[in-house]
Amino acid sequence: MEEVNVTLTVNGKEHNIKVPSDERLLDTLRDRLHLTGVKEGCSIGECGACTVVLDGKAVNSCMVYTFQLDGSEVLTVEGLEIDGQLDPLQEAFIDHQAVQCGFCTPGMLMSAKALLNEKPDPDREEIKTAIEGNLCRCTGYQQIIEAIESVVKIDRSE
């Protein structure tokens, strides 16, 4: 199988890689770049555990082939903490007990991040829509919504 040259910027760092045609963005991130914060839960775009921000939009990384992404930019959960400073969303998840097993957490954070990047003051319905594609079996979602809302409120007060 011939490989394709792709330039991919991940968490601000540029990578020039050669990928086989069937390498998914998920595989590139986890296996090639060792960003294991991105999780595989179902492989068919249903659970959202693999959610990353691709060129500004939340997508399921299991549903994209890396060969399609030459020149693209990706943000993963590993890119949220900067110089030891946690993203407000991460702090909020901690403060609001929005994490139990933690497996859906990276995907949730990325969906929320994508939302807030595009719309800094979403209402509760918009928050739910942003994470409707992120399945959680542990938390019942309540504290996750509260965590995201708390970040919105912080932004509003600034």
């Binding site: 199988m1 011939e2 394709v4 045609s21 069937d22 998914r24 492989s43 068919i44 775009g45 249903e46 959202g48 959610t51 939009k57 939340a58 997508v59 399921n60 299991c62 549903m63 994209v64 082939y65 060969f67 399609q68 969906s111 994508a114 939302l115 829509t129 942003a130 994470i131 409707e132 594609g133 992120n134």
Partner: protein, 289 residues
């Protein structure tokens, strides 16, 4: 395991050349939300696939354009883009109502008009709305251009009339002159990220308190999303204040069964199609008042 070689087209001409050359050995991918699932499930449809052509970078295919008499929806327009479009909000809000109940945010960010139409699932939400809107598709190949109604393009569940060297480049949605009302309904097994159990798009004008040019399209009720012509005839010119909903509901079910015959799901779908139509009409009546 399905194996393939990656190909990428940066222009429509490139894509056309590849299709002319590889024909049924090449499948196309744009957003990937249907294709990668099919590959994961090792679908029989992909038995002959040797190449996967990425068309997501083809310029000009992501237009949402006002062409005077119709709206041009490029094949690469995503569901999210439909939801954000001011033009579509103005001309065809029903497309937004359909787009926003497709999948999840992640899926809508990648899923395209072209994908939804070419995958031709009987439950495809955009398709039902487009059928009600009398949309047509444009296909390109090395032989030139071809245009045909969407209702003719989709020939059966997951089947289209696309020839092996053709690529669908856009959907044309003819403008509806005058004010009109719309309603989109979707029955689901859960409240988000769910395939339609049944969906319904109703479009109608109202003249002198009577239905005018009413279109009723059901999806996931018959093998392909289709307009229920008998019901449309029944409703044409009917007075909004004098609708016999019970009779209508029955006629709707009859029309459906007339197309499908008795199937295992009929005991469920029979009452529900009638209820959905009733609901759609009632909401339009309310809006008119």
């Amino acid at each position: 395991m399905i194996e393939f070689e990656a190909l990428k087209a940066n222009s429509l001409d490139e894509a056309i050349d590849i299709l002319a050359d590889k024909k049924n050995e090449v499948k196309m991918v744009a957003g990937g939300t249907d294709m990668l699932v099919q590959i994961h499930h090792e679908s029989d449809d992909l038995k002959e696939m040797k190449y996967l052509l990425d068309i997501s970078a083809i310029s000009g295919l992501d237009v949402i354009e006002d062409n005077g008499e119709y709206l041009r929806l490029g094949a690469l327009v995503t569901h999210s883009e439909i939801m954000d479009s001011v033009l579509i909000n103005e001309k065809f809000p029903i497309l937004q109502k359909a787009a926003e109940v497709i999948g999840s945010t992640q899926i809508r960010n990648r899923g395209t008009v072209g994908g939804n139409v070419n995958n031709a699932s009987p439950a495809a939400d955009l398709v039902t709305a487009l059928i009600a809107l009398d949309a047509s598709v444009v296909l390109h190949s090395s032989h030139g251009k071809r245009e045909l109604p969407l209702s003719e393009f989709i020939t059966g569940p997951y089947c289209t009339d696309r020839k092996e060297d053709e690529i669908m480049t856009e959907v044309k949605v003819p403008y509806i002159q005058d004010e009109y009302y719309d309603c989109y309904q979707k029955v689901k097994r859960r409240q988000a990220v769910a395939i339609a159990r049944i969906n319904l798009a109703v479009i109608t004008k109202v003249k002198d308190n009577k239905f005018n040019d009413i279109r009723v399209a059901f999806g996931s009720a018959t093998p392909t999303a289709t307009r229920f012509k008998e019901i449309e005839k029944e409703l044409a010119g009917a007075d909004l204040s004098a609708i016999d909903y019970e009779q209508l509901a029955e006629k709707t079910s009859e029309e459906m069964v007339g197309i499908t015959g008795e199937r295992w799901s009929t005991p469920y779908k029979r009452p529900v199609v009638g209820n959905l139509l009733k609901r759609a009409l009632q909401s339009i009546v309310k809006e008119v008042q």
